[in-house]
Amino acid sequence: MTTGQLKYKTSDEVDFVIIGSGAAGGVIAKELSTNGFRVVVLEQGPYLTEADFTHDEIEVTNQYQLTNNPKYQPMTFRKSPQDKAKRHPAFVYGRMVGGSSVHFTANYWRFHEIDFVERSKVGPISGTGFSDWPITYADLEPYYTKVEWEIGVSGFAGASPFDPPQSTPYPMPPLPVKSGGVIFESAARKLGWHPFPAPMAILSQPRPGRSACVQCGFCESFGCEVGAKSSTRATVIRVAEKTGRCEIRPNCYVHRIETGAHGQVTGAAYFDGKRTVHLQKAKAVVVCANGAETPRLLFLSANKEFSDGLANSSGLVGKYLMMNSGSSARAVFEHPLNDYKGFAVSRVLHDFYELDPEKVGFFGGGGLDTRFDSTPIGFADDYLPHETLMWGKEFKATLAHNFTRTMSIMSHGTSLPVENNSFSLDPDLKDAWGLPAIRMTYKDHPDDLKLGVFLRARMMELLDATDAKQKWANPVEEQDFAYHLLGTCRMGNDPKTSVVNADHRTHDIKNLFLCDGSSLVSSGRGQPTMTIQALAYRAADRITALAKRGGLGA
């Protein structure tokens, strides 16, 4: 295996340095290296493989085997810019080769046409930076198809009447239905809704070197031991390495993008695993470090010309953070569902994707899915009915009865882009490398909360149409924790109101590109990774075209 072998010297000026090897970075590395460019990918986390993945919940959740560890990379949180931020684990991301695509749930619905043009359709919303995208669904459609076929997505094309046009069927059928999925489907149909098999970036059929899903039940939050989950590590990164032109360099924590005399970027400075600093030279830099670390790196790279952060003439780097809204409902049934077996989500519905603001009184929309996303310890902590005493005979009896009989539903919805919702550098707290920690400022827009309440009522309506013995919904609350890190270096045509253009090139610096969740203009209705990867395939095409006509020079 070629994992992490040194190929280039830091003094070699390679064509591209890509910062981050996750959902976007992995795709761009594969595309650029197969297009003939010399590429170094700097990844802050380790290079783990199937043999390193485990079902040990302590290692994964308490010891942060796969994710950012707030002990070494602390964060702070506040609700508004007037508040003093307090230390708080505010978000999680995959910190290893493959990034969050290694531990994600793998929901792969596409954004719909409306997501790209919604501002024009429903009009401005006061107090927000709600905008259309500079590209449309039609621009992205071929790239959605490319994602599905290259990494491997299971699904049933056209299964939802609300689906956007899909030019090509999925490369493989949906994963098997779970008991929760059957209950969900039958109840939803009783209500006249349109449930459909979840599109998932998990193999239902084997591919070369990868097994089909073996339904082990340690899926969301865990790395896949048989390569069935379509992480970039299990898919495109292997292809990139086989070109012989792409080096994946793990344990490299980039802390500064360097700039040259003419304002162009010249490479990336990073700490290696021994905290020695290196500078990898490159003709161009592509930052795919996620919606939190990408803006942070731009702030850390401030210089004379850009004192508020590299490529930040708009002042919008780090702003308009969106993390999707959502809530959950649970039910207990007479017979075992055993939803703990297998992957998380088998059925979805999009009947509430596009709501009419005139009718419902708020902006937004969302999807529902049935998702058992808990492993045994997590279940005992989070899946029991409210008011269960959490120790003793009753606790044990409830746990023993409910574990196999519980069904869970989640809602996933829009977040509006609010300027105050943002990432910035904390003025006081430092990480273990002495770098300023990330500060998150976030308060849900009132419409996001209203949507949450609306979808929560739909979840209960669905559970009312089942023969559940017990059911309850978790409260809709203001969020202080994010899985989705979106919109913080938004894409747009106007350099005054966006950070990157439709090619993911920063408006300010010709040879600096940003592509990850930070590029999103609107939040979709959750499940952003599919769209991030479609953007990455498209960005790689645009970057290749620019580079081939010599357009990256300063």
């Binding site: 295996m1 493989t49 043999a51 079902h55 040990d56 919940e57 302590i58 290692e59 308490n62 010891q63 056209g158 299964a159 009447p161 949906p174 098997p176 239905v177 779970k178 008991s179 999925g181 059957v182 489907e185 349109h194 084997p206 070369p208 070197g209 990868r210 097994s211 089909a212 073996v214 339904q215 082990c216 048989v226 049934f333 017979h335 075992p336 569902l337 055993n338 939803d339 077996k341 297998g342 045994p376 310890i377 279940f379 005992a380 989070d382 009915p385 409210h386 008011e387 269960t388 005493l389 959490m390 120790w391 003793g392 005979k393 606790f395 044990k396 746990l399 023993a400 574990f403 196999t404």
Partner: protein, 220 residues
């Protein structure tokens, strides 16, 4: 056990990159064989404490036995949770050592105060023990744990409660010494196999396969 783990690693190394058909057909059986070896190794090793003194272990064991009591089915005691916590304090929970020491002292003081003549928690009757824990448990209700000032003994009890649950339900194939012989998973009905096939449960066993609803074709 180290041997079993390294064999498992070897098998997975071997599986990586070979034909998927091989993985799908051979891998689970291979793992099962390794697992059997692992289990034999595990039960052959006499338990020994790595952090707790024998006296402290008795107190911790008594506490865990009230959090997940033994009844018609095994509880924390049969799952060897005290050994899990013992190793936890040497590994991932080192930061909790002070809380355990000080919280336990406070809890013991409370036991003596509530039941004069009872010298240690472990010496109290189970009814008395539950009463002591109820006096600490103001917040350990699912989904309702507001941030409020708590005593050391309360913090200790909540941490111990979480560790007990983890020790009961941890993957028994991990080397954390919890969930001995997988009894915790037996109690909650989690099968110990490493792979599953549909039908998974009662409600999907007669599922006919996905069909678009008739109206849906027209709707588009």
């Amino acid at each position: 056990m180290q041997d079993a783990l390294s064999r498992r690693r070897f098998l997975l190394d071997t599986a990586t990159g070979v034909s998927a058909a091989w993985v799908a057909t051979k891998w689970p059986a291979a793992l099962a064989a390794v697992q059997h070896a692992h289990d034999s190794a595990q039960s052959a090793v006499p338990p020994r404490f790595e952090y707790f003194s024998p006296e402290l272990a008795v107190e911790i064991d008594a506490l865990t036995a009230r959090i997940i009591p033994t009844g018609e089915t095994p509880g924390a005691r049969e799952a060897g949770v005290v050994y899990f916590i013992d190793r936890a304090l040497k590994t991932f929970a080192q930061d909790d050592r002070k809380l355990y020491a000080e919280g336990m002292a406070e809890l013991q003081a409370r036991a003596r105060e509530m039941f004069p003549g009872v010298e240690r928690f472990s010496a109290a009757t189970t009814e008395q023990q539950d009463e002591i824990l109820r006096s600490l448990d103001k917040t350990a209700i699912s989904n309702d744990r507001p941030f409020m000032p708590r005593s050391l003994a309360q913090d200790f009890f909540e941490t111990l409660r979480q560790h007990t649950v983890a020790g009961f339900l941890i993957d028994p194939d991990s080397d954390r010494r919890g969930n001995r012989d997988g009894v915790g998973w037996q109690v909650i009905g989690r099968e110990r196999e490493h792979m599953f096939q549909p039908p998974f449960g009662y409600y999907d066993k007669d599922y006919p396969g996905w069909q678009p609803a008739a109206a849906e074709a027209k709707k588009k």
